[in-house]
Symmetry: C2
Subunit: 345 residues, 2 copies
DNA sequence: CTGTTAGCGCTTTCAG
DNA sequence: CTGAAAGCGCTAACAG
């Protein structure tokens, strides 16, 4: 292998008979330096393909232009959308993004944080795992002067800016729509009780029922732990086989809704005529499943952009004690699975 | 903000009355160092939460423990699966992964390469864009002594190891299955002519037709440029409305197959009875669409693991001139969309 | 077994 | 306008 020795500032300086510091300044067009010197240095550098050694520069300035990004799961439509937005935004400012996943495990999240701190990112974007409560491991970033921005799945125990979606309102609107469509026994398959946005969605669900004086029953609320398709299937089966089955399902996520639909189809229920189904997150699959699944769009790409932008601002202002919070609005996307009224017509 | 001054080796050395180099060596349990010295240093370091400055270490050793990973698209079931595998594997060896996307644009791919080279990754994993032909920009990595491993979408113009799936065989088996199911007029919606795996799949398709003496018509082969759902829809419409319509579609990708299915449903064709459909890649959506879409699984997670492992080996052996190639076998996943025979029974 | 020394490539005072 | 010199934190050859 041909190991080309890289050209350094020293080489340029020697060649042009100037000092290293002059060469360094010339490259940045420092106002102190004579126009001709600048020109000479730049031309030489150009001609010989000088590339600064960023390892040295970063070491000197103790920053890396790398940003860490941790999500619970990578193979996940919503999160990959957020990542995509975050990366595109980072690119604009010359930052690279280090991506990692926690698999919703606190253990893995800690490991990811540690290797990221080691390899010295300038800041962290994180959507925490289901198991994360306090987030002391995130505190380490702050104590090292590296800002953290939380998004989507967040904890309030940590004093950082947050970018979320208005889960409460999203859920409220979704359930509201079900009520307007004529459903009267609305079940909710929710997420874990220790996860903030699961609670927000649950509250939105409750509020909508209360506002419209619709029946509320504990038996119609079930908690997922894994948020899986199978849980949707199982809970749907359990509830539909009970003495007082619901006539519609509002699900914490499209995947769960998919399980519900699978059960309902197997059991020969007609969707949306007999039973309505509503998801959350508006994944690709909501479009392609049959019947089309109504859902709540979370604007993942936008969230990625906003969160990254916020983080980069913090990094550039050396600001770690910011509490700014951005809450994006959701958008209700109506498809066939919840259109009882229109179906009847 | 409390800017805690970080503890350095120098501090430890001064405090313990030894030299910096001794401290450094003690921390690594160098055999030359006395047991007691090692113990003393380690204890002090532990007690005062010494964390090496990796920026300095990396600068010194000119390596970063970061690996670059570029894919055409991030929000893409197959690629996110590969990324997931690659990241999980990298973690095992203490490497971080810098992720970027090219949007299938040569321009973006070059930019991604440049910022990655700057921020000094130790190596690169890449699936090239549709527009990439020669890949001179990738050559830059090699000349800097940084290994490159290509995966899935590759170019043979570059002398690097490659990890791919046996596209030819995958396509052959898929078409073979269609023939066995009794389809006789098999259309193929293919990818761009300059993209290697699109060509491989096309060749597999042709070979299967030839081996079984099945009709071959140019009119039944159409080339996508964007590989979009709409192209699937449009080509299906075009072919089905032609004088001699096919009785089945083998599509370059599940997304395209989805477009075909959408058209067929709209036009009231019965799948798979009248028309069979076969995708490629086995995305999540293949399971959930109705009817279930038969497809060819590419083992993305495995590909990510294998490619990353290979790359890390090259990095650790300082080896840039390796031509090793791994070709994974595909797996045919049969669902309803292609089961004409079973449907008839 | 341990310390001295030099140096990685670059930035940045401080002097001229 | 430019140069000399110090130093970022760590490693490693060399010399005891």
């Amino acid at each position: 292998m041909i190991e080309k020795k890289k050209l350094t500032l020293k080489d340029i300086a020697k060649e042009l008979g100037i000092s290293v510091s002059t060469a360094s300044r010339a490259l940045k067009e420092h106002p102190d330096i004579a126009k001709e010197t600048i020109k000479a240095v730049k031309e030489y550098a150009e001609a010989h393909h000088y590339v600064p050694n960023f390892l040295a520069v970063n070491f000197r300035k103790s920053r890396t232009f790398n940003i860490g990004l941790i999500v619970p799961e990578l193979v996940h439509h919503f999160f990959s959308t957020v990542i995509s937005g975050a990366i595109d935004e980072a690119k604009k400012y010359g930052y690279n993004v280090l991506v990692s996943q926690s698999n919703d495990l606190l253990k893995d999240e800690k490991v990811a944080c540690r290797t990221m701190l080691s390899s010295s990112v300038d800041g962290l974007l994180i959507s925490i795992s289901n198991e994360t409560l306090e987030g002391e491991h995130l505190q380490d970033f702050l104590s090292e002067g590296k800002p953290v921005v939380q998004f989507d799945k967040i904890t309030d125990h940590l004093n950082t800016p947050k970018v979320t979606v208005d889960d409460f309102e999203g859920a409220y609107n979704a359930v509201n729509h079900l009520i307007k469509q004529g459903y009267k026994k609305i079940a909710h398959i929710r997420g874990r009780k220790n996860v903030k946005n699961a609670n927000e969605r649950y509250e939105g669900y409750l509020k909508a029922l209360k506002d419209h004086h619709v029946e509320i029953t504990e038996n119609w609320v079930k908690s997922c732990s894994a948020i899986s398709e199978n849980e949707g299937y199982d809970f749907a089966k359990e509830m539909m086989e009970s003495a007082n089955p619901p006539d519609s399902f509002f699900c914490i996520t499209d995947l769960v809704a998919l399980g519900v639909i699978r059960y309902l189809k197997e059991a020969k229920y007609e969707i949306p005529y007999q039973i309505g189904v509503m998801g959350f997150s508006n994944w690709k699959l909501a479009e392609v499943v049959s019947p089309g699944l109504s859902s709540v769009d979370q604007h993942g790409y936008d969230m990625g952009i906003k969160a990254m932008k916020l983080l980069i601002e913090l990094i550039q202002n050396q600001d770690c004690e910011n509490e700014e919070t951005i809450e994006l609005k959701t958008k209700l996307v109506i498809r066939d699975s919840s259109l009882k009224k229109d179906f009847i017509k």
